[in-house]
Symmetry: C2
Subunit: 377 residues, 2 copies
């Protein structure tokens, strides 16, 4: 047991407990299960999945886990219970823990905002004496806000993960240049192996490796094939390594000429937009402004980007703060945010070009954590 | 465009449309998006992700996709629209399509049963004139029922996917015996590479490769490491290959002696339970009976299995029919079901043993599709 990190989990749960007490709420339920993953459970307990976590206003953390053996090895909580002891029924598990904790009828209990409507109805029916809250600005949104601002422990993890990411970027470029990496699968499997050899837990998400025949897709499907990579045209490689739960997220574009005028224009626009956006990253800037500036640059060139400019990263590949152009994006950059910029343009004929790196927002500006690039072969 | 498979998608949508007409419902909404994947969208359209699909009672299929380029290459539907044209807002997209289709106020519209409670509220508020349904026995449950019974096209895919799975099982065993596969990552990456070399789209789920130090976990975390595999004790390898969207799911246990009496007892019990369960697979049998029979056998040996006996497989690694011991499991085996059996026992000291294969239920009984096994090294 790593007691230092267990103290960190307890301190994070104490902030949830304070939020609950301020609102007169007795407990909050978090869940991380198949089809509805929420790494806030890991953030607050160390348990990497398949569990419910209840945090009470009194500050207790109770984990109900599919696999008690694993929870005992990984989690730092006040109590671990077996989901099987509640017949693997979510409502029974939650009501059972509430009863054990002495939280009785009439109490307000916050449920996950991702809870399906029919499941909410079941909570309301089976737990008729409780007042169940389920809302987008509830406890899990508060937790996402905490997660958006990385602490010293998390920033240290990011520095290690970013250094590994950069090593892999350099090795990839060398492999493509030498010809030892010549298919989409070569690139993706190189990353799988080399990231684990460097102590990473996994890839942060499925590596997207798309040679010129498939780079027009924002999100290549399948993620990679035995087809050519780094051959004539535009090849995209989008990956992240996961270290102690935290993922990086970078995208390289490999360009092999001769390049068409349309491809040159797309490359130049993406590079310009990237530089412009990177120059705007600093505390106090609303992310919608950065996103709109890039939209304007692309529109002036006759293009439209079919995805968001970037996103926060952390225990999830996409988390707060949002980096997009919608009116309802409320995010303002702040110290501790770790975000990506990933301007990209796609054309069914020319293929796709995307450039993505990770940035840590500090008190005075932004620091590039990774050094991905557009590589001309 | 493969027009034959497009006709299959249209025929599947026609069954949804008939279900809607029988109930006086104007349209059903399906969604496959980050955090809420539903391959029913692919089943009904060929589109592998990041889309809404609306099926109307009139039989029309309209796809609203994040990536129109990819949808035009992959989907067989009546119309493809860009999510970006609805400001990437789910409710606007759905209301927009309803208006285009001439489905007006007062109409009943079925929403996904996985829709989060706060999102349901937003539909109800922004689409106040519609009657939105959101329930566990709605259109998506009906679609899951269709998906549980594989048609001739799907069974042919399963025969190819199973043959590949068996080739990989044999090659894995050979590699472990020769020593070319000696770490968890060796085993997992061998599968990644060799499955794609055989035309698979991806793995069906993250390969779980757990050497003796970690096999006590039901679901090893991390999924695989640079640690030893096939060394003294019990090693578990759980994987599936994905072919044209359909996944197999098998688990091998590798046993390297000397083996303790506790380990021998676990191995023998799992093999006995597996044989007993496999012998019970035939049409008309409630799956809860098979599951309870295995529970009894394990209980007689002083053990309790911490997970379900098996599950259906298809476009998802876990789908209908359920194979578990709960009172509310209503499933009765029927021809066309493709299911796994995966009895397993786990102990923090002895490690874990699990044996899993896939079976096709036919008119007269069950056929083993795969030949995974407990391998004594």
């Amino acid at each position: 047991m790593n007691t230092e990190i267990h103290a960190t989990y307890a301190a994070r749960r104490a902030r949830i407990a304070g939020w609950l007490r301020d609102r007169g709420i007795a407990a909050a339920v978090f869940e991380d299960r198949e089809g509805r993953r929420d790494p806030t459970v890991r953030y607050l307990s160390g348990q990497p999945g398949d569990s419910f976590l209840l945090v009470t206003a009194a500050g207790r953390g109770i984990l109900v886990s599919w696999d008690v053996n694993m929870a005992q090895a990984m989690a730092g909580v006040d109590e671990i219970l077996a989901y099987g002891d509640f017949e693997r029924r979510p409502v029974r598990a939650v009501l059972g823990v509430l009863a054990r904790e002495g939280i009785g009828p009439g109490a307000q209990v916050e449920l996950p905002s991702t809870l399906a409507y029919p499941e909410y109805i079941r909570y309301a029916e089976e737990g008729v004496d409780y007042d169940f809250l389920c809302r987008e600005d509830g406890a899990d949104e508060f937790a996402r806000g905490l997660r958006a601002v990385k602490d010293d422990f998390e920033i240290a993890v990011y520095r290690r993960a970013s250094a590994i990411t950069d090593e892999l970027i350099d090795a990839l470029e060398a492999g493509v240049r030498k010809g030892t990496i010549s298919t989409e699968a070569d690139a993706a499997l190189f990353l799988e192996r080399e990231s684990r050899a460097r102590g990473c837990e996994s890839m942060g998400f499925e590596t997207l490796s798309a040679g010129p025949a498939r780079s027009f897709g924002i999100h290549a499907f399948p993620a990679y094939t035995a087809g050519g990579f780094g051959t004539r045209g535009l090849s995209i490689l989008d990956f992240g390594v996961c270290r102690e739960g935290y993922t990086t997220d970078v995208t390289l574009t490999f360009v092999r000429g001769p390049v068409s005028p349309a491809q040159e224009r797309m490359i130049a626009l993406v590079e310009e937009a990237y530089r412009e956006a990177a120059g705007m990253l600093r505390p106090g800037v609303p992310t919608v402004e950065i996103s709109r500036r890039v939209d304007e640059m692309f529109a002036a060139g006759g293009f439209k980007m079919p995805h968001a400019l970037g996103h926060g990263i952390g225990l999830e590949a996409h988390e707060a703060p949002a980096m997009r152009n919608r009116d309802d994006n409320p995010w303002v950059l702040a110290p501790g945010h770790v975000v990506t910029l990933e301007p990209g343009l796609y054309d069914p004929e020319a293929g796709g070009v995307r450039l993505e790196n990770d940035f840590l927002i500090g008190p005075g500006g932004a620091e590039a954590l990774t050094r991905s690039r557009i590589v001309r072969l």
